[in-house]
């Protein structure tokens, strides 16, 4: 039953179905709250950790050749546990010794990958924030929402598509600088 549920959730999530994602989130939330709160954490911290784990799973599920090697529950639990231990370590609360109930092979790689992704995500967030408007909207419209340059020039009041293209080019160069410089600094 549980495994069927996992398979169902996975197929729906691969279709980027939001309902499946919500269902998944709702199913395992209590477990993680219990895990974090019984190990000197708050519910807010539990929420952060849990969302990170779910996003990691979601992104993993989007990879073309992804297959489930363990239960989703096990994946979430193991990832949350590792992430939380790391947080405790950062908070200098070394007493965090959470017994390992369930885990899966490759958890170490998984966690470092998750952290790297999280890191890049934060970098991009910071870079986009530093980029400011209207650059950010132009970039997002072009790359994310796939608007044509004509639409963009119209939307932002440029005289023609060529002007908009120039503006977009400048913005992209700035973003490139911000993102990669930050990343280098970070590394």
């Amino acid at each position: 039953m549980a495994h069927n549920f996992d398979e169902l959730i996975l197929t729906e999530i691969r279709k980027k179905d939001e309902r499946a994602l919500r269902e998944l989130y709702r199913t395992h939330y209590p477990m993680v709250v219990h895990l974090i709160c019984s190990n000197s954490g708050t519910e807010q911290e539990a929420k952060d950790i849990y969302q990170e784990a779910v996003i990691a799973f979601y992104e993993k599920a989007q990879l073309p050749h992804f297959t489930l090697t363990c239960k989703i529950k096990t994946y979430i639990y193991a990832v949350c546990r590792r992430l939380w231990l790391k947080r405790l370590w950062e908070k200098k609360k070394v007493n965090g010794n959470i017994p390992e109930a369930e885990t899966f092979s490759g958890i170490d790689d998984e966690v470092s990958e998750i952290e790297e992704k999280e890191n890049r995500f934060n970098k991009m967030g910071a870079a986009l924030h530093a980029l400011g408007e209207p650059c950010r909207s132009i970039i997002e419209d072009y790359y994310i929402r796939d608007l044509s340059m004509e639409n963009i020039s119209e939307k932002f009041g440029y005289t023609n598509a060529e002007n908009a293209k120039n503006q977009k080019y400048k913005c992209l160069q700035r973003l490139k600088k911000l993102f990669f410089n930050n990343q280098q600094k970070g590394i």
């Binding site: 996003i55 992104e59 994310i144 080019y169």
Partner: protein, 349 residues
Amino acid sequence: MSSENEMFDKYLKDQLSADEVASFEERLKTDAAFRQRAEEHQILVKELKSFHERNRVRDVLNEAHQSIEKTRTLTVENTSGWRFWPMAAVAASVAMISIVGTVFYTRSLESKQTAYYKELRRNVDQIQQSQKLIMKDLEKAKKSALPGKYAGTGFLLSSAGYVATSYHVIKEADSIIIENEKFGRLRTTIVYGDPLNDISILKIEGELNLRSLPFAIAESEANLAEDVYTLGFPRNDVVFGEGSISALSGFRENPNAYQVSVPVNPGNSGGPLLNSKGDLIGMISGIQTQTAGAAFAIKSSVLLSSLADPALDSLTIPLILPKQNSLKTPSRVQQVKQWQDYVFMVRVY
């Protein structure tokens, strides 16, 4: 450079023609700097996309989280509000009943308690008074004679000097001395003991020079509600007490005793119980504790049958019981005046 960027974008969006793609890929292989720029561009665009994807997912999750918290608060409201109201009502009524019940119960308890305390205080007062009196008596007694270990009452059974008293008064006796106003102190010996009926007979050493005793010992049972009185020595002076026969059986329905409503105290044991004519109908033996006004007296018929014991037949001086009542006065004062000569305080050493 702007055109180069445009080409990257077009390549990523699959907007290049086959020839353009071929030349583009050819350039990637040959021009390292161009390749690096292309890769950077690709990474940036990919990161941008994943950033937005992640934000979208995060929004979805936050939404899901809010729905969790909403349902939780809803269930909390449910539990506190209406779901358990019958249980809450039961609990409230139970609490109500127990509170009211406790109030009533403790109130009644309180009144009982105060009554009990009042009585107790009166008792304590009495005890203190009698203690003071006893102290005075003891001081007086010290001047005349040792008080003895125990004290009781006895009365003369025959002019030959036989005295009846309770067995429990003399049972641990070394020596027994009896005294009253007329005869003073007299030494006695025990001639007979009946622990079962709590009767014993003492013999006064020496002659008394008495004519026959002026009372009779009743052979038949007394009647219920008959007026009775007693003389005894609960203190160093003879004490008169009167009452009536309240039951024809004694402690625990003992058929050998009467229950009498005569005020008696320790020291009254062995005292004669007399009827209105002054005849002996019993002998005071004890009281029931925690019951007001319940004293017990051995029946005279039991005394008589006990005295028929063969041990008393072989006495050198025969025990001749008085048979004729010669008091001949209905006045209790006159009866007592004569009777008190034959009642003794029994001191046990």
